[in-house]
């Protein structure tokens, strides 16, 4: 059973083998077990822990959530089951930061500046280029004038890949080919976006492991040159995280933000069984919102992140 069917976002033929433990009615169970008590049973906490850990929420954040629940139960006392379920949801939602109005996630929303420059970063293989292709298509569909910048000049054929996406989305692309200086491509893209009156420019970068200092320095340079063309550019720096990544995503997030100040997250590959629970801790730690989720390989398979739907999906089974 795929994750997305649970939140009712997408129907797709899925493998129906029981790879995943049934979680039916877990909220009800938790509710029942703590209703009318002023402490939470160890058994219930164990179950909650299992759900959170197996969703990749991580030990640290799981402990934090459990502490919060225990505090609320001790303080409010003798709550009924539905109140407790609500509290659990609330406490987790509170860890996921909200999108700010100057950096809207909605495709139709007005940007505070024109052009709105977005830099996309992340480690190798998380789906940066695909995400840009989808964003380009969705912004264009919402009536925005979009421009792409192919600053992943390192990976073999990455420029070709983005070019194909730009054709599919029918938006212009700025490129200099493989092995060109990525900072120069970024500079050109921002300049072109400015002179051609684009609403938004999306700049792709090469995947890089966050512990490679020289590559991270290069990224910081790419970011720096953009500000020379348009004030305060880039206005968004989006870190793409793969939902199947475990606790290392936190290290990725911390490292990337120390070099380029991440302002938002995209969680990709949510069409499998992975839940990407690490974003809860990352969003809380970096104080940045999750803006989009990637849910498939088609060009329209990207959605604006909904905190409530996401948290519900962690606990529901159908």
């Amino acid at each position: 059973m795929g994750f997305l069917e649970k939140i009712g976002l997408k129907k797709k033929e899925k493998v129906e083998k029981g790879v995943e433990k049934s979680r039916s009615g877990i909220m009800g169970k938790i509710g029942k077990a703590i209703a009318g008590k002023d402490t939470v049973d160890a058994e219930v906490l164990d179950e909650l822990e299992e759900i959170l850990i197996t969703s990749d929420v991580g030990v640290q954040t799981t402990i934090e959530i459990i502490n919060r629940i225990e505090d609320r139960v001790a303080q409010d006392k003798y709550l009924n089951s539905s109140e407790l379920q609500r509290i659990l949801r609330e406490e987790i939602i509170a860890l996921l930061k909200e999108t700010k109005s100057d950096k809207p996630a909605d495709f139709k929303a007005q940007f505070p500046t024109k052009p709105h420059i977005v830099l996309i970063v992340g480690v190798n293989g998380v789906g940066k280029t695909t995400t840009i292709g989808k964003l380009a298509y969705l912004y264009k569909a919402a009536g925005k004038k979009v421009m792409l910048g192919a600053a992943d000049t390192f990976r073999a054929a990455a420029v070709d890949q983005l070019k194909i996406w730009s054709e599919r989305a029918d938006v212009p692309i700025i490129q200099q080919g493989q092995d060109a200086d990525p900072a120069a491509v970024a500079f050109d893209t921002v300049s072109a976006a400015k002179s051609r009156g684009a609403d938004i420019a999306l700049i792709d970068t090469a995947g890089r492991l966050h512990n490679k200092k020289s590559l991270m320095d290069e990224l910081a340079k790419i970011k720096r040159v953009m500000g020379k063309v348009v004030d305060d550019a880039p206005h968004e720096v989006i870190l793409v995280l793969d939902a199947s990544t475990g606790q290392n995503a936190m290290q990725q997030a911390k490292a990337f933000t120390s070099f380029v100040d991440i302002t938002g997250l995209v969680l990709t590959k949510l069409d499998g069984t992975a839940k990407g629970g690490i974003v809860i801790g990352v969003s809380n730690e970096l104080e940045v919102p999750v803006k989009y989720i990637g849910v498939g390989e088609e060009i329209e398979d990207l959605q604006v992140f909904d905190r409530e739907l996401y948290v519900n999906s962690l606990f529901s089974d159908d």
């Binding site: 899925k14 480690v123 990455a158 070709d160 290392n248 995503a249 499998g272």
Partner: protein
């Protein structure tokens, strides 16, 4: 060696103090710490549970050793169990009786299949004198065929690809092509696919059925979290692969997914892939993986690197010097030189147990040795040998000669003396460990850092 986990466990095993035997009651806290360490390393929840139960059984009834500290005793138990689970024997990939040998590569999107396919081609060509051809059976992802062609060109390996979106056909024809060209190995790169995508899983099963590979490899990103077992199981049920390849191990992930997969599907891990350069592929070593998962750093690799650079006799001399407190600035300078020869400082630090934690918020400046060297180079041999003679006049001269300030010289001397003391107290650790500990102490304190 067992620094990180054992220091955590040291705290947890307080309850063992004064106990003669390890029992159910007195190790509860310890077991919890071990479990947490495993979960932090992305070992699957169920696997971590089973694993800690094994540890409990193994430890129960053992005497609490007084010779070593209990944290170390426990870490040793955990480490041994993990190495055992990974299996001691290294398994090579299969070779066909009648060529060509067909190798099928499958995995999720972004796991690094294409890069691995090219690395494997290079590896087989260079290490085993084989003549491989790469088959581009990823017919979906935009520019995937261009990617494999670019990589193949760089290692002089031919690629077979077709225009049509028919992966089964591409794979089959690649095998025929290999036969007609008398190439002995076909490496089939397939599209990344989600294990829940029925149509795509059918496709890879069909490819397998059609080409009957001698070796099927499942490629998995070492950063994968709890879901690793789901994908590994699902792929195994569909294509019954022969081995696993762990990619992106050059990151700082602990790679607990390796243990989860090994436990759940019981297939050997055959290769680890560690970088974007096409020669960054190596066989799998269970002991190193266990150390990594337990946060012990890749001590073995570090030692191997060190052994290449360090002269055993020199090292022993140095050890004696440290013990007798005659370690001087000339020795220090030589040490700096040797460390520099070993590679980038950040890579080295990454291999030291616990260092990643200790240094996580500090940036490592690869040039940070330069002013230190300049200062030492500006000293006379006598001054290097006997730093005590460094009076104000000498210090002024050295500062001038090295383009630094007197304060910098003073700071270096202060740090050097502290480091000497520290080195003596770390006599239990390896030489590099001492060296790095010394530097870590200096980090951030020197004005030019």
């Amino acid at each position: 060696m067992f620094e990180d986990l054992s220091s955590k466990l040291n705290h947890a095993v307080q309850s063992l103090k004064g106990e003669a035997k390890i029992s159910d009651v007195n190790i509860a806290e310890t077991v919890r710490e071990i479990r947490r360490a495993l979960l932090d390393a992305d070992v699957n929840y169920e696997v971590a549970k089973t694993f800690t139960n094994h540890i409990k059984e193994r430890a129960m009834g053992e005497d609490v050793l007084t010779a070593v500290n209990p944290g170390q005793q426990f870490t040793k138990i955990v480490y041994d169990e993990m190495v055992e689970m990974f299996g001691q024997e290294r398994e090579d990939i299969a070779v066909a009786h009648t060529p060509p040998t067909v190798i099928l590569i499958a995995g999720l999107q972004g796991s690094g299949k294409t890069t691995f396919a090219a690395k494997l081609a290079k590896y087989l060509k260079e290490e085993n004198n084989r003549n491989p051809i790469l088959a581009a059976a990823d017919v979906y992802r935009p520019a995937a065929i261009n990617q494999i062609k670019t990589l193949a060109d760089s290692i002089n390996v031919p690629v077979y690809s077709i225009e049509q979106k028919d992966a089964v056909r591409a794979a089959k024809e690649a095998v025929s092509m290999a036969k007609s060209l008398a190439l002995d190995t076909v490496i089939i790169d397939t599209a990344g696919r989600m294990h829940v995508d029925e149509a795509m899983m059918n496709e890879v099963a069909e490819i397998k059925e059609a080409v009957q590979p001698n070796e099927t490899l499942f490629v998995v990103d070492s950063m994968t979290g709890q879901d690793a077992v789901n994908t590994a199981k699902e792929f195994n049920e569909r294509i019954n692969y022969d081995g696993v390849v762990l990619t992106k191990l050059d990151g700082d992930t602990r790679g607990g997914a390796a243990l989860s997969i090994k436990t759940v599907v019981e297939k050997p891990i055959k290769f680890v892939s560690t970088g974007e350069k096409l020669d960054a592929l190596s066989p799998f070593y269970p002991d190193r993986m266990a150390q990594r998962i337990l946060g012990m750093g890749d001590v073995v690799s570090l030692v191997e690197k060190a052994q290449k650079e360090f002269d055993q006799e020199e090292a022993e001399k140095l050890q004696k010097k440290i013990k007798s407190d005659s370690f001087d600035l000339e020795d220090f300078r030589q040490q700096l030189q040797q460390v520099k020869n070993m590679g980038s400082i950040s890579d080295l630090v990454g291999m030291i147990p616990g260092a990643d934690k200790a240094l996580q918020d500090q940036e490592i400046d690869e040039d940070s040795f330069k002013p230190i060297e300049a200062i030492i180079n500006s000293m006379t041999p006598e001054e290097r040998h006997n730093p005590d003679i460094l009076n104000a006049t000498r210090r002024r001269r050295i500062a001038k000669g090295s383009g630094t300030k007197v304060q910098d010289v003073n700071d270096l001397m202060k740090q050097f003396n502290q480091m000497k003391k520290m080195m003596q107290s770390f006599s239990g650790m390896g030489k590099i460990g001492q060296m790095m500990q010394g530097m870590k102490g200096m980090k951030g304190k020197l004005p030019f850092n």
